[in-house]
């Protein structure tokens, strides 16, 4: 008998033993854990591991509060992320695979769970008893807040030290209110920190006068978490010729990050009529949209590569353009052009060509020699990236080659008891990555403080009686986010652009989700190989196989397909192709197809 046959026989049994009479069961079998990781692509792509099908199904059932709570289990700020998330999940949505149409608006639905829940909705928090341990967190940005929330749930006394007057970090000081209303920010930050977290604002950690040294924090607390983000701008390299190295020294030239932070601290900011923004991320787009609202009439974003390769959402690009902002590609600024009085006249750019791919997945741009050209502008905002700052450290920590603090997967730095999380470790990423990282490091701190791991992830498996979707749902078009009219947008910097789904839009969009957490499985002992399921399947999702590879880590691998009947070991539903339409289930004459809902939950150990 071939090796393949042995594999098939091994996989004929269910991964986890189901109870005799149905009901829910829990599994730590690698095959079940691997199945969830591989078959729910949106959840796997979410840095916080949000149970996306779970909350979308709750929305479908109009259980908005439940949907909000499912979100909150992974991401403590759903109303905020539902507005400004970079949406890595949507890129991997099965609905976006070739032939399946467009991605589900996962992020808009997240916001709907927050917007549509009842006023006075009761938040569910599962509290541990007091541990007697004290944790100091430096920085009240997304990573710090997420970690503080989790650590306080785990029973630790947490204090956050924040240099600004209010918490939120980039959420408050980097993102304009027309994308993230401050009342939403305030409520969700308050909810995250209200379980006894002590918030000390206006306190700067550092070596200078009036500053609190890190060494003292470490002495006073059982653990310290550094989550100070990447709050400095990357310098723009420019040719000489203006006599000054620092573009900030020219009037009307400013780094975009400081422009936004100043604005959100309450400083008065002005721009000229013609505004150039150099950069390609969310900060660059935010700068351009703020500039438009401050009176810029010709606002242009200059990018090194092309729209396809910039790390922002398509919706954000569209809204930018809709507000009259232009995006011009394949250009790198080479020098500023100023008049005799030192006033900015414009920018000299070099034409670029596209190069290869960088390690970080971004596209390279290569300036072409002799291709320089001039673009006039009155104001220049530079937003080409952000970096971490370590000059406040009075404790020696090992740094990596980019100047970020080195930390292991649990956030532990080279100094025992000092942890680091979020953009401070990874360099500038996204809010959801910072939250995900903050939560993972919080779990690492808890393990270190308590001397053992207290929680683990398992798969909750629940039988589902019948398909939860209709085939007709697959043809529903993507429901676009309603937005404020253009005439309203420029009236105030605080007028929110995206106005949110109402119940009808949320219900329609939620139906589009395939609910990939549903696992369709054929019981081959009862299958009569009639092929009816194969005939009705709208995709190539039911396969005749010799067996299924089992990888070294115990998870399912490649399906070993065959077309020879004498080699068929099983008829197998390829859940990566399956769109959970339920057609196979409905047509099966022997009822040998079962459906279970498989999702990660956290269990106490």
């Amino acid at each position: 008998m071939s090796e393949r046959r042995n594999r098939e026989r091994e996989t004929a049994a269910p991964a986890a033993a189901a109870p005799e009479a149905g009901g829910v069961w829990y599994s730590d079998d690698p095959r079940d854990i691997g199945w969830v990781k591989e078959n729910i692509p949106c959840q796997s792509a979410c840095p916080a591991g949000t149970n996306i099908p779970g909350y979308i199904q709750a929305i479908m059932e109009k259980k908005y509060g439940q949907a909000y709570e499912i979100n909150r289990e992974a991401n403590v700020l759903p109303g905020i992320l539902g507005r400004i998330c970079s949406r890595p999940c949507e890129e991997f949505c099965r609905h976006a695979q070739p032939g399946n149409g467009e991605t589900v608006n996962i992020c808009h639905l997240k916001r709907a769970s927050s917007d549509l829940k009842h006023v006075g909705h009761r938040i569910t928090e599962s509290l541990y008893g007091p541990s007697g341990k004290r944790v100091a967190i430096v920085g009240a940005g997304p990573a710090g807040v997420a970690a503080a929330h989790d650590l306080s749930l785990l029973g630790h006394d947490v204090a956050i030290f924040e240099r600004e007057s209010d918490p939120g970090g980039m959420l408050r000081y980097g993102i304009p209110a027309f994308r993230l209303p401050r009342d939403i920010l305030q409520v969700e930050l308050h909810n995250a920190l209200r379980l006894g977290v002590e918030l000390r604002t206006g306190i700067e950690i550092g070596k200078g006068k009036g500053q609190l040294p890190l060494a003292k924090l470490r002495k006073d607390f059982d653990a310290v978490l550094l989550s100070t983000g990447s709050m400095a701008s990357v310098n723009l390299p420019l040719k000489g010729g203006i006599g000054k190295d620092d573009p900030d020294s020219i009037d009307s030239v400013e780094y975009g990050l400081y422009f936004l932070m100043g604005l959100h601290r309450g400083e008065k900011k002005t721009v000229g009529k013609r505004v150039a923004v150099v950069g390609a991320g969310f900060t660059a787009l935010d700068c351009a949209r703020v500039a438009k609202r401050l009176g810029g009439t010709e606002v242009t974003i200059h990018i090194r590569t092309a729209e396809e390769y910039i790390p922002v959402t398509k919706d954000e690009i569209f809204e930018c353009k809709r507000e009259g902002i232009r995006i011009k590609g394949l250009r790198s600024p080479s020098q500023l052009v100023v008049d005799d009085d030192g006033r900015l006249r414009g920018i000299e750019f070099a034409q670029n060509r596209l190069g290869g791919w960088r390690d970080n997945g971004r596209r390279q741009a290569i300036p072409i020699e002799g291709s320089e050209f001039f673009e006039p502008c009155d104001t220049l905002l530079i937003a080409i990236g952000q970096r971490t700052v370590n000059d406040y450290l009075d404790v020696k920590l090992e740094l990596d080659r980019w100047g970020s603090v080195k930390a292991d997967e649990n956030g532990q730095t080279s100094r025992k008891g000092i942890f680091a999380a979020g953009d401070y470790v990874t360099g500038p990423t996204t809010i959801i990555e910072a939250i995900g990282n903050g939560r993972r490091v919080a779990a690492g701190i808890d393990t270190w403080l308590m001397g053992r791991q207290r929680r683990r992830q398992v798969v909750r498996i629940e039988p589902v009686a019948e398909p939860l979707r209709e085939r007709g749902f697959d043809f529903i078009e993507r429901q676009h986010m309603p937005t404020a009219p253009l005439s309203e947008r420029n009236k105030a910097l605080t007028n929110e652009v995206e106005t949110g789904y109402d119940e009808a839009l949320a219900a329609t969009e939620s139906k589009r989700c395939y609910l990939c957490n549903l696992k369709y499985q054929i019981d081959i002992d009862n299958c009569i190989y009639c092929r009816a399921c194969i005939e009705v399947a709208p995709k190539n999702c039911i396969k005749l196989v010799e067996g299924v590879e089992i990888r070294n880590d115990g998870t399912y691998g490649e399906l070993l397909e065959t077309k020879q009947w004498d080699e068929v070991g099983a008829i197998w539903i390829d859940n990566n192709e399956c769109i959970r339409c339920g057609a196979c289930f409905m047509v099966c004459p022997t009822r040998c197809i079962s459906i279970t809902r498989n999702e990660f939950v956290t269990q106490d150990i």
């Binding site: 070739p98 032939g99 092309a306 353009k321 809709r322 507000e323 034409q351 060509r353 596209l354």
Partner: protein
């Protein structure tokens, strides 16, 4: 016997057809497939103004007789939308889930009318001119002697305008930076060209910024364009002519370099050696201008298709483009453009 090379052309316009017949001439044994979203065989888009001169039968605007494709052993796949191209597996996926293999792919998908994003909410109140079908809908919506409100006024729109004026319609041009696209007009030339348009019979409204479009009030023309200063103008039909944007979305996952269009070298080869592009969909590297640039107009587009096909079949020829791209005013006082020549 070895299987014939399968050359697939996406797009059934001037570039695609120029490429197809060149391929057939140079490689008689190859398999050629043209894929088009249109329900009609190849017709010349520059001929569409004829709809307003009484040409209402699609057969009259076909460039080739129906048997042309069979005679040349070209498979024409009409009503077929490509949604994905995978350069690694050399496959094309259609909206109806069919997958087709290619050996060499020529992307000649052209461009579609650009509508500035700030006007996207009013798309349903505008009429198009991108196909025979849309031209007929516009024709039916515009009453004899009625008023067309033309936004922008690129050279495609101005070509339609001169026909409309000739047959008794009124054309109000709401001029802006897109007027005369794709010509690059020096600021000091602009007033002269606008004056030439007025001599041709267009009513030119310059410097006004449309912010909204509404349905007309009862007893009034069917449409009203509102400007940012609170004023407005009435018309029977509103048509946007803001130039073309490449139809390249389906190529985004293909692995080839794209800025606005597919980026190609002067031989019209993309960054994938088996994918070529021609026509309004591609940006061609110009060593002289040190930039990737578009070339428009029937003559350019046709030539691009032919050059790409010759290079697919072993030549190494650069696309050069028509020499004179300037807009000028003729002896009759009317504007003349190489863009209109075919």
């Amino acid at each position: 016997m070895a299987e014939a090379t399968h050359n697939v052309i996406i797009g059934n316009g001037s570039a695609g057809n120029g490429a197809a017949i060149t391929l057939r001439e140079r490689d008689p044994d190859s398999r050629i497939t043209i894929i088009t979203m249109s329900s009609l065989p190849f017709y010349n888009r520059y001929d569409l103004p004829r709809v307003f001169r009484g040409c209402h039968d699609w057969r009259e605007i076909l460039v080739h007789p129906p048997e042309y494709y069979d005679d040349n052993r070209i498979t024409l796949r009409r009503n077929s939308r490509v949604i994905d191209v995978d350069g690694r597996s050399r496959t094309i996926t259609f909206a109806h889930n069919e997958v087709m293999h290619y050996d060499q792919l020529l992307v000649c998908a052209g461009g579609r009318g650009y509508l500035p994003e700030e006007l996207s909410d009013y798309y349903h109140l505008m009429h198009g001119f991108h196909s025979f079908e849309s031209a007929m809908i516009t024709h039916d919506a515009l009453p004899q002697g009625g008023t067309l409100l033309m936004l922008g006024g690129d050279m495609i729109g101005l070509d339609l305008a001169r026909t409309l004026i000739d047959v008794g319609y009124r054309v109000v041009l709401l001029a802006n930076e897109y007027t005369f696209w794709p010509h690059r007009i020096e600021p000091e030339e602009r007033d002269g060209f606008l004056a030439a348009l007025e001599r041709m019979g267009l009513e030119v409204v310059d410097g006004m910024h449309p912010v909204a479009i509404e349905e007309g009030a009862a007893g009034k023309p069917a449409r009203r364009v509102l400007f940012d200063d609170g004023s407005d103008v009435d018309g029977d039909v509103v048509m946007p002519f803001y130039g073309l944007m490449p139809t390249a979305e389906f190529m985004l996952g293909s692995g080839v370099d794209i800025e606005r269009g597919l980026l190609v070298n002067p031989q019209l080869q993309s960054t994938d050696p088996r994918i070529w592009a021609a026509g309004d969909v591609c940006q061609i590297w110009s060593e002289a201008d040190k930039e990737y640039r578009f070339y428009y107009g029937w003559t350019n587009v046709r030539q691009m298709g032919e050059v790409a096909a010759r290079n697919v079949t072993g030549a190494s020829e650069d696309f050069k483009g028509v020499g004179d791209e300037r807009l000028h005013v003729g002896k009759d006082g009317y504007i003349q453009s190489p863009f209109w020549e075919y």
